[in-house]
Structure formats: structure tokens, C-alpha cells
Symmetry: C2
């Protein structure tokens, strides 16, 4: 029996640099690798999403739509893949349905093939319009389950979630584990359950590597029937990023599975990013492996946010209390997965509860979460806290799809864009400004200056290397400098004491 | 059914710092963690071996026997474990049987419980005396299979090797993968094969993490019946080291297996070494993950050795040829696993072959390897090359156990030690000098000065942190210094340009 082919999604161009180097990689540092990526035999190439879009216009003066078109040109044989936050698109609020349709249409037109659609609360109503829009333009609509651990997030629950996504027309199901929480047995049980319940539906599994355990989870997911798994080339892997692509290949050698990836191409991709990665070292976190989340249930980024908030209030010593408060707040909200934006909303409210008394002061966002304005969580919200939110905000709880409350806004968004200096008259620009109204105006104005690369130059890297070599050798004797003081040059000798 | 208990060997005190920081960790940086390690519930604590012994007397002015006694005192409830290179003991030549007996007896007397006995060539005759000595003193004799890949190293071959170790009285079998080559399917097949063939013999699995794939191998080994696996606490893990202990725990949660380790103790051990590790950063390699060995079959350390040798001969550009020569030389020698010392012997000969013509000049070590003086490899040596070795060295090939050629040497070793300044009159000192005659004399002399710590001090670390902070903030404006030149003080302003 020939081994079963396991598809691989390469993450180097999106999630890997988002997770490892704060999404700072410039397009010019990716271009050279594209031919090898295109020909290595991946199932898809993830290359676009909210943070890459944001970073393009905020830090890199790069048009994200132009980036997408360039990827399309450079990788003509590949499925290009993006991460789409359902009704939020790539922004931080719900958009009216027509904006969702426009965005999906333009993304497809510019080259996108696979749309991984997700919602932070796993509320299918927040994904429905985006999924329908993807299907309408004939592209691959992938429905996503955000994995989390809670009393209401059971294997059976995740299997049911998959069913709802399939009812919505999902061509495949992604099991997305953004906090590296997905343990091997759960991975196996969920994938097996979905396959047993719904037949041979394509399942893609996405894990981060933070806890050091998720390559095993990918193995068990594959044994349970997973079809595609996400990895990043080794020189762009590990830590808060993802499992190394080459390790996946090695893992499957000799088993009943194979990736069919071209190892020579992989090595060439690896060598390219091994050169690029040091340019962005200042954006890297020091985390190599961290299993704390299994006991604390709090993602690392959320923890450091809360610590920052406490310190700003002179209450840095109360982090333990806040950590104990988080599970209560999360339960009161109906157990939302702790990802953006729910992690910030729950975390900030936990800090408020500890500093000012439980729910004495609610943030507007937390009240909205309690009242249903972000959508519905898997668990029910605590009715007493809902009532407090209603009283504090004078807003009524809703049970309808949040998107249904929005009025058509496309024409208004067009006029907004038209008022901006540098607006190029395209729907793409309208969408850019709609999603990032705080950043787009400045970007449109400065766009003609062309892309910036915030990585270090070869010269800077070389200077650092020389300095590091000098340091590792130690200062052997007195060093001589010419120092000019008040117009007169002096020879100065400096010696360690 | 309650989950099957999987034992864990903690590597932080031996192989982890050997692999990550060139074995430089001082005893004083381990002491604080010992109580938690002792009470965490490990199957054993690896804490002694050739490189730690060598580093103690070469770099740390620390008596390795005293280190062992300290571990014994600090961890009264734990099995202490060491790695023993068979007839080589901890040195680099074969020792006569009585020396082997003495060494094992003294090690046991000073506190050692589990002796993991191995031989670089997997020649059981090189392990027999050490195994017998361990059994004689009533300690745990663990027979070791060094894992490697070659045409003669088949799953069946490894199963047979295990049988020979059991015949020798091994209380358990270690499957030792020093190059992170052990892939999941092989791990499963070997462990399953041993269990199926010999019944419920205890199997310990030791993997490095270099290729990023071996936590999966541990999972498959456990599924196949492995009883104990080796890991290192997360703050002393990954890269050329080992898989993180906490990730192993998380990996098994929800499965039919459990480690039973105390997570609070693990976190406390982790926090201790997270503080210690930065002190030794200058000894760390930059390798995070490297899967090259699967295609090149050449361990990273061996590759850089050969590159160094070529460069010294002005032939740095011929590394490709040498890499192609290595498999031929390895095959001619009968496929020795490429670990110390066979990796150096094979690598150097491959360099000689490329520079001077194939086997035109043989190193003495390579000739000895061909003639059987290191023992017997699993494959047969190429008879033509054996003949060339015989001619070049005028030595005859041997088929007997190399140890059988040695004459009693204990009395001679005692007199040698007695002639040394600072010799303390113990058998332990005789053994130290016997194993490291190039280093021990200086150590004996300087021992009264007490242990040195080659890690950075808190003050040095703080200075570096301040400098790094300043750098990350960038120089904001001109910096002012007082510079004294020729006795006159000047105020100098330095500004980035």
C-alpha cells in the first residue's frame, strides 16, 4: 500500500513572521524564496491576514494589495491562503454584509484562493456571510474551529461546531490552535470524531509550537485522518511560531504517510530565511518553550498585557489575584476562547475586578461581550452579570447576529476614502481605509515614497558581528582611538581595568 | 483502566548542560534545584559521565567524586544515573579489567545507582566487563544500543543487539539516539520488537532534540511499550539538547499513559535553571533545529571538525568531496555509528583520502579501527582496506576482545598517581589520573584553590542587560564623557552620525 499523502501549508510568509518577529518582514525579504515555495509541493501557501495587512501600512509603507498581487505572480502554481476574521474581515469591528462581499471579491480578484474563515467566539453567524461570499466567487471556503480548553469545550462540542461549518458550505474544516494548547489525545479525538461523523471531509490542522508538544499533536491528528497540516520552514520555526516543515517530513518517513515535499526546495527555502531572520532579531521574543498555559490557561501575551496594566496602576504585586480572577470572568462571559479580541476584553475586566471590586466598573467592550454584541459564546453568559452590564451601559442584550444590526455602509466608506490625500480611486483603497481608518490616511499620503524595510541592513549586521567577535575574544590589550576635542586631535589609549 | 506509568530520567544535571553549554555548569549552580529534583518523582537523575568528569577537572577545578557525593547527599530518594563508556570508562582508551572493576566499585560506593553502559561501536565485548562489575556491586546495569542509520543497522539488528545485552545480564535496555536520528516509526518498531521478542524487559529511550522530531519518537516508543524516557526541564531543553520534561507531561495528558511527575516541583526546577542558563550563554550554540543529518548522515559537530581540518590545509572548498567520501569510509570500516571517537576517526580519514588519495595515508586511529583494536563493528570491514592498514602499520588484525590484550595496570596507575603533587591517596584520585592523565596533574595541584565558576556573575549579567536596554532604546542624543588625556581632563561629546 502506498503511503497516504499529507498536504502541508507553509506559514513562513504569514503566521511565522507574525509570531516570531511582530509581522515585520518586508516583501523584498520574501521574494527570493517564492520560486522554491511555489515548486516545493505544498498544499497551500499562507501569505496574507489581518496582522500582515496592518503591518504593511503601519510600519512598512507597503500596499498589502500589491503584496498579494506580487505573491500571485511569483507563485503561479500555488494555492494562496489567507486568514479572515469573519464579519470583522481584517479589522476590529463588524462590517455590514456588502463590505464583506466586496472584500472577498477583491481578495479573490487579486489572487487569493483559500479563505480560512474564523471567529474568535466560534459563533457561526459571524462567519456565515464571509463563507457565502467565498463560495460565490468560486474559491475555497475553509471553516475554522478555534481550539480552546474549558468546561463547555468538549470533543463532542467541537465535532458539532464542525457540523455547523459544513452546513454553511465549508469545503474543508480547519482546527486552529493559536495557543499551542492542543494536546495529542484531543487532536486525535477531534479529528477522528469529525471524520467518523461527517465522512471524508478535508481537515486542516494549525498548531503553534509554544508548548513544545504540538508536533506530536500533528502526528496524532494525521493518524486520526487529518489531510493537511500547517508548518513553517525550520529557519522560521519554533518558539511562539510553528513546528518545522523539515521535521514534519522526517517524522513521517517510514510511516504510512508522506508529504511528497521536495527536500532540495525546502533546504533552499530554509537557507534563504536563515539569512533573513537575523535582520529582524530585535523584534523576536526570547520564549523557546513555555508550558505554563496548561496550568494557568492564560496565553503569554495576555499575561504580559495584564502585568503592564497592573504596573501602570502601581499594583504590580496583584498579578496572582488577577490570574485567579481570569477563569471566573471567562466563565461569566460563557467561556470565550482567549484570542484577540476576547483575551484583551477578559483580561482587562479581570484587572478592573481586582482593583475596583468585581464588576463595579465594566469596560465598554466587556459589557458588549456580555450583551451579545460580539456574538454568542459556546457557554451561556452569567445572567446576573448580563443584568449589571445592561444597567451600567443602558444597552439591551441582543440575541440576533450582530451583523444584522448594521446599516449599509459601503457608500459612506467610499466617500470617506475619497476625502483622503493619496486615495487611488480603487475599491481596494476603500477597503484598506474601512479596516484601518486610524492608519490608512497616513499610508495613502506616504505611499509614493515606496516600501520601507525595518530589518537591519547587511552593514548593520556586519558591524554587530564584528563587535560580537571582538567581545568573545575579549579585549586583549589597550585599544587606541583618535579623539577630537575642541578641534584638536588626540591619540587616546583605553585599557580594561 | 488507570493509565500506565511512564518513568522519566531528568537530564538537566548531565547531558543537558553538556549539549547546550559545553558541560560548563558549576556544581554551585545545581545545588538549589536538587531538592525539587529529588522530590519530583523521576525514575532517575542523570548527573555524571565522561564530559562532566572531564570539565570538572579541566575547567571548574572541581573534584568530580566530590560532586557525586554531594548529589548523593542532596538527593537521598533518587536513583542517580551515569553514562559509562564500557571498557573506556570515562576516558579515551581501553582499560584493563581490574581498572574497570575499581572504577565501578568506587562509583557505586560514592553514590551511583544506575550505570548506562555503552560502546561507540555497539560491540558487546567492550561492555561485558563493566556490566559484570555493576552487577557484582548490586547496582542497576543498563545495556545500551547506540542508534544509527546504515545498511546493516536494521530493526532486526537492533533487536538482536538487545538480546546480547540481556544475555550479558542487563537489567534494562537503553535505546540511545545521540544525533536525534531516531524517527517515530523506527522508535516504535525497535521498542515493539524488543518487547515482542524478549518479554517485558525495561526499555529506556534517550533522544536529542536537534532535528525537532524526537518528541514524536518518544510518543511512538511509549505506545510501543517503552518504560522510561529521558527529557530535560524546559529551561535546559531543545536545540542540540533534549525534549522538555513539561512538554512530555503535557503530551501524555488524556492518553493511556502518565508520568506522575509533580508539576509544582517541575516549575520550580524550571525557574531555577531559567535563572542559571544565561550565565553560560557564551558557551551556547545557535542551533535551534537542524534536519540536515537525515540527508547528509553526518552529525553537525563532525561536519564542523572536518571543515576546520580542510581550512587548516587551505582546502576549505573541498568539503563537498569530503562529505561524499564519509559514507565510503564508514562502509569500509563496517558501518560504525558516528559518535565519539568513531566520528573523529572516520571524518579525519575522509579528509586525508580527499587531500592525499584514498587510503594513501592512514591515521593510526583509522588503521586501529580497521584492524579491530577498537572492537568489532556490526558490518564487516572491507578486507582490502584491512590489508592496507596492516601493511602501513605492520600491526596484525585482531579478532579477540581488545581488553584481552591488556596487561594488569592497576599498580602502575597507583604509582603514577603517587608521583603527583596534590594526590590525596585515594583510589578515586588514581582513577581520575588514569582516565585524564593530561589534565589530572594540574588539577591535583590546584585543587586546594577550590571550585571555579566560569559562568557570568550577576554583576556581569546586569551590565549586559543595561547595555542591551540602552541599545534597544537607541542613542537618543549626544552622550557626554570625561576623557583624561595626558593628565588633562576633557569633556567629550559623542553623537551617532
Amino acid at each position: 500500500m502506498s503511503p497516504r499523502k499529507i498536504g502541508v501549508t507553509e506559514l513562513a510568509l504569514r503566521d511565522a513572521h507574525q509570531s516570531l518577529m511582530a509581522t515585520r518582514m518586508a516583501m523584498e525579504d520574501m521574494v527570493e524564496a517564492c520560486e522554491d515555495i511555489d515548486k516545493a509541493g505544498y498544499w497551500s501557501v499562507e501569505c496574507w491576514g489581518g496582522a500582515t495587512f496592518d503591518a504593511c501600512i503601519r510600519f512598512l509603507n507597503e500596499d498589502p494589495w500589491e503584496r498579494l498581487r506580487t505573491f500571485r505572480k511569483l507563485m503561479p502554481n500555488s494555492r494562496l491562503q489567507m486568514l479572515l476574521r469573519g464579519q470583522n474581515l481584517l479589522g476590529y469591528r463588524h462590517y455590514e454584509d456588502m463590505v464583506v462581499d466586496e472584500f472577498v471579491e477583491k481578495s479573490a480578484e487579486n489572487g487569493m484562493d483559500v479563505f480560512r474563515v474564523f471567529d474568535a467566539l466560534n459563533d457561526p453567524r459571524n462567519m456565515a456571510q464571509a463563507m457565502a461570499a467565498v463560495k460565490k466567487v468560486g474559491k475555497h471556503a475553509q471553516g475554522t474551529i478555534c481550539y480552546t480548553m474549558s468546561p463547555v469545550h468538549t470533543v463532542e462540542g467541537f465535532i458539532k461546531s464542525a457540523g455547523r461549518l459544513l452546513d454553511m458550505g465549508a469545503e474543508s474544516i480547519a482546527l486552529k490552535d493559536m495557543a499551542a494548547l492542543l494536546q495529542p489525545q484531543q487532536a486525535y479525538d477531534i479529528v477522528k470524531g469529525i471524520k467518523d461523523t461527517y465522512g471524508d471531509v478535508q481537515i486542516n490542522v494549525h498548531c503553534h509550537s509554544t508548548t513544545g508538544v504540538t508536533l506530536v499533536s500533528l502526528m496524532k491528528a494525521i493518524e486520526a485522518g487529518a489531510d493537511v497540516v500547517d508548518t513553517a520552514i525550520s529557519s522560521m520555526s519554533l518558539g511562539p511560531g510553528h513546528n518545522p516543515t523539515e521535521s514534519l517530513v522526517a517524522m513521517l518517513e517510514g510511516t504510512d504517510y508522506t508529504t511528497g515535499l521536495d527536500m532540495d526546495r525546502l533546504l533552499s527555502i530554509r537557507d534563504h530565511f536563515a539569512k533573513v531572520r537575523p535582520k529582524y532579531s530585535e523584534f523576536e521574543s526570547a520564549t523557546l518553550v513555555d508550558t505554563d498555559i496548561f496550568s494557568s490557561q492564560i496565553p503569554g501575551g495576555m499575561l504580559s498585557n495584564m502585568e503592564g496594566q497592573l504596573k501602570a496602576q502601581g499594583a504590580g504585586d496583584r498579578i496572582r489575584e488577577v490570574m485567579e480572577e481570569v477563569p471566573r470572568v471567562k466563565a461569566d462571559a460563557g467561556h470565550p476562547p482567549l484570542v484577540t479580541p476576547s483575551s484583551q476584553i477578559v483580561g482587562t475586566q479581570a484587572v478592573f475586578n481586582v482593583l475596583m471590586g468585581r464588576y463595579k466598573v465594566m469596560t465598554g467592550e466587556f459589557a458588549d461581550l456580555m450583551l451579545g454584541y460580539y456574538g454568542k459564546c459556546l457557554g451561556d453568559p452569567n445572567p446576573e452579570v448580563v443584568e449589571m452590564a445592561r444597567k451600567q451601559t443602558k444597552k439591551d442584550p441582543i440575541t440576533v447576529r450582530p451583523g444584522d444590526l448594521l446599516k449599509p455602509e459601503w457608500d459612506e466608506l467610499v466617500s470617506q476614502a475619497e476625502g483622503l490625500e493619496g486615495y487611488n480611486g480603487t475599491e481596494e483603497d476603500v477597503l484598506t481605509n474601512a479596516m484601518f481608518p486610524g492608519v490608512a490616511p497616513k499610508f495613502f499620503k506616504e505611499r509614493p515614497e515606496g516600501p520601507k524595510n525595518v530589518g537591519k541592513t547587511a552593514e548593520q549586521l556586519n558591524t554587530e558581528k564584528v563587535a560580537a567577535n571582538a567581545k568573545s575574544k575579549g579585549i586583549q590589550g589597550p585599544a587606541k582611538y583618535n579623539v577630537t576635542v575642541g578641534g584638536r586631535s588626540h591619540s587616546v589609549s583605553v585599557e580594561p581595568v
